[in-house]
Amino acid sequence: MPMNEEFKPKIVAFCCNWCSYAGADLAGSSRLAYPADVKIIRVPCSCRVNPMFILRAFEKGADGVIICGCHPGDCHYSTGNYYARRRMAMLFSMLEYIGIENGRTRVEWVSAAEGVKFSTTMNDFVAKIKSLGENVRLGDIRCKN
């Protein structure tokens, strides 16, 4: 990447349909801006996020991945976010071991009423990724042009 060009990170956000996706909708209808670098994928529940999806994202050149779900105790499916929390804790520590800094991955609980939290979380996450710079650790060289 040329030095003078501003770093535009690629950020994938997995949002559960019941809380966080609705929170993102509320951020939108409330016009609470966050950088366009964040692209949201809708999943029924945070527990639907397979660690494989996150590895895939990093492999394909993502600079950060964030998983958003309902607050603990508020999961639409009762227990899904607990599974997500455990799986991601495990995955993130392994990712760190292979060189994907902890700051590049995050789990955040955002309810349908928390448009403000969604926006501030995304602003904060993008700032963090920008400070970390481009992710080069896991990128599949075959995916680069």
Partner: protein, 662 residues
């Protein structure tokens, strides 16, 4: 290969102002599978939907992507439009380029680029979509109402009048709720009990309504149309069938030192008690924590005096299990604790009370028999100061950020009633703003000021200092005159913020109903679905959804009832076809998926499997589509990757990831 049509909506200028929709159309035309792309002013309009139908027919489309608002808004609209045009509704995907794009970005180039990427992700996904068919589930024609206040009573009456069975579960010994504690109601000054008790009696007498008081919802399973609920009927220690409600037991009970919950702790009640005279049912309960028989083993007076032989010290909690098609939450509110507000001296002086406590003081059945008197010395007060917004509209975490909505009106009511009954009493109200929108509300407030001479001062109170002579020194500020005010008062009344009843948290968790940061239940859509929880089959009635006065609560209670009736009137419901599906060839029957399924939807069957020519009997997972709710927990748990989720398959999500990271 799919034949995909992409439809990009302008949404007037909502999208088109920040996203170059023409450019999006041009770019996505070249995406794999796309055979048609066009833009239109309003895709959700009849003309827009006709456009989609026409393209489906003419271009023989097998899948469509609509780039528009959130799928939570119009996914159902476009699915129906596609279905009418002969396309399977699950061949529709939405790219959310409004809430997640045009509304939050200002730079047209950036927003357009993002819209293209979101469209690509949706196209990549729809390329892998498969037609799905919704199943059917049955509807149990019975409703549960949690909470027996005016909201719950009204909802139950409306549902019952439509011909459906309703159960009310109320945690206290009587239905009636907060409204039963009120003395008068604004803006007409009706006696609260006079308008509430007929409704309570009607609910109790209704052949379709069953009331469980002193009971709590313990467990909820199932889903819309088919909930199974365990209700714990706490031991009353009194046989409901035998008790005649004569009240002798309460009179003779020697333990009379328990603060009365109904009177907000002003005054005591006996250990065996009915909360108030008009309680329904008129059957007392024994408070086992206060009862001498339970505490010391001695006493037993109530059993001796009960002519009906209704006292039963051996009674145990009972669990009732019932099935329901719809559940209405009507758990109501409480006032906040004032422990963080030392400046108002609430915990130091008996003459500083909350407005709800004043309701009890003003009530003829209350601790002072309706006489306005200081609770410290029983003297008649000459100066009363009301302080508004105690804990409401609070910017720090001591209180609540919201307006409690009812306080301006009930304070005007209190001030007016006091001035009417006791013209010698001066009434001063410190307020931030007076908010009285509502039919006949502002007129009511103006009457308090103009006809009753209530002194309204715009400004807040910094401190209430109890004085050695028993009076209270109120230190406030008059913002309009820009001066400090020191006022000696005999009584101070705090318009304390209301908050959802604490029990709602546990209930929301059991129902998997969303709750906001203030513990109010979230509605499905703030404007268009205000009485429905995002959880199907769960409806919201009264203050559990947000602060409300009685007219609004009753209106919303009726609305919640109508929504519940609409559900109960159906014989069958269409189920979500996005359920888990095992690949029997890959499954090794390890049980990992069944262990994480919150619905018990996964079982195992021994089946003859033909694995590339090898025929053998294997234990493989089976998903019950009627039970599976499609969370996807099993798909990630499965060690062999055999379980996948229809509509959100591994391949579909990876295709989205790839499109975004491209």
């Amino acid at each position: 290969m799919q034949r995909i049509g992409v439809f990009v909506c302008h949404c007037g200028s909502n999208i088109a102002a920040t996203v170059d929709v023409k450019k999006v159309v041009e770019i996505v035309k070249n995406e794999p599978g796309v055979v048609h792309a066009e833009d239109y002013q309003y895709m959700c309009s009849e003309a827009g939907q006709a456009l989609i139908a026409k393209a489906i027919a003419e271009k023989n489309l097998t899948g469509i992507v609509v780039c528009s608002c959130s799928p939570r808004m119009h996914e159902a609209t476009f699915r129906k439009a596609a279905e009418r045009a002969g396309l399977n509704p699950y061949m529709v995907e939405i790219a959310n380029i409004r809430e997640h794009c045009s509304w939050i970005h200002k730079n047209i180039e950036e927003a357009t680029e993002k819209a293209v990427i979101l469209a690509r992700a949706a196209i990549a996904k729809v390329n892998l979509n498969a037609p799905l068919k919704a199943g059917e589930s049955r509807v149990t024609k019975r409703a549960l109402v949690i909470g027996g206040g005016i909201a719950g009573i009204q909802t139950a009456l409306d549902i019952a009048d439509a011909g459906y069975e309703v159960d009310i579960v109320e945690k206290t010994p009587s239905i009636g709720g907060r409204m039963s504690q009120l003395d008068k109601t604004f803006p007409t000054l009706d006696c609260s009990a006079c308008i509430l008790t007929p409704k309570m009696v009607e609910a109790a007498a209704h052949e379709k309504i069953t009331i469980y008081t002193y009971s709590e919802v313990e467990k909820v399973s199932g889903f819309v149309g088919d909930f199974t609920v365990d209700i714990r009927k706490k031991a009353r220690s009194v046989d409901m069938d035998k008790c005649t409600g004569c009240g002798v037991c309460q009179e003779k009970c020697p333990s009379k030192k328990t603060p009365s919950e109904f009177n907000r702790g002003l005054g005591n009640r006996s250990a065996i008690y009915t909360p108030f005279a008009q309680a329904i049912p008129n059957v007392p309960v024994i408070d086992r924590d206060a009862c001498l028989k339970f505490k010391t083993g001695k006493c037993g007076v109530c059993a001796k005096v009960c002519q009906a032989g209704a006292i039963d010290y051996e009674q145990k909690d009972e669990i009732v299990t019932e099935k329901y098609g719809a559940i209405v939450v009507a758990t109501g509110f409480d006032t906040i604790k004032l422990d963080n507000y030392d400046e108002y001296a609430y915990n130091q002086s008996k003459d500083v009370i909350t407005s709800l406590e004043l309701e009890r003081v003003m009530n003829a059945a209350g601790p002072t028999k309706g006489h306005l008197e200081r609770l410290s010395d029983g003297k008649h007060p000459k100066e009363i100061v009301f302080i508004q917004c105690v804990g409401s509209r609070c910017s720090d975490d001591r209180g609540k950020p919201y307006c409690s909505k009812i306080c301006c009106m009930y304070t005007a009511k209190h001030a007016m009633l006091i001035r009417d009954k006791y013209p010698d009493v001066n009434v001063t109200v410190f307020y931030i703003d007076v908010r009285t929108p509502g039919k006949n509300f502002d007129e009511f407030y103006r009457r308090a000021v103009e006809d009753y001479g209530v002194n309204y001062i715009k400004g807040q109170v910094g401190k209430v200092a109890p004085q050695p002579d028993g009076s209270l020194l109120v230190q406030g500020v008059d913002l309009l005159d820009n001066k400090q005010i020191l006022k000696k008062a005999d009584m101070v009344v705090l318009a304390t913020a209301i908050e959802p009843d604490p029990s709602v948290r546990k209930i929301a968790t059991m129902l998997t109903a969303s709750i906001d940061t203030n513990n109010f239940l979230t509605e499905s859509h703030a404007k268009l679905r205000p009485v429905e929880s995002p959880t199907a089959g769960v409806f919201l009635s009264g203050v559990c959804q947000g602060p409300k006065d009685i007219p609004e609560t009753v209106a919303q209670a009726g609305a919640a009832a109508v929504k519940a009736i609409g559900l109960l009137a159906k014989d069958k419901l269409l189920t979500n076809p996005c359920t888990a599906k095992p690949d029997e060839l890959l499954c090794n029957g390890c049980s990992a998926c069944a262990n994480v399924c919150p619905y018990g939807a996964i079982t195992y069957e021994v089946k003859l499997i033909n694995d590339h020519g090898i025929r053998e009997e294997r234990r493989v997972a089976q998903v019950n589509n009627a039970l599976c709710q499609g969370c996807g927990a099993c798909t990630v748990t499965c060690p062999s990757g055999a379980m996948d989720l229809q509509g959100f398959s591994n391949r579909q999500i990876i295709a989205e990831v790839d499109a975004i990271c491209r």
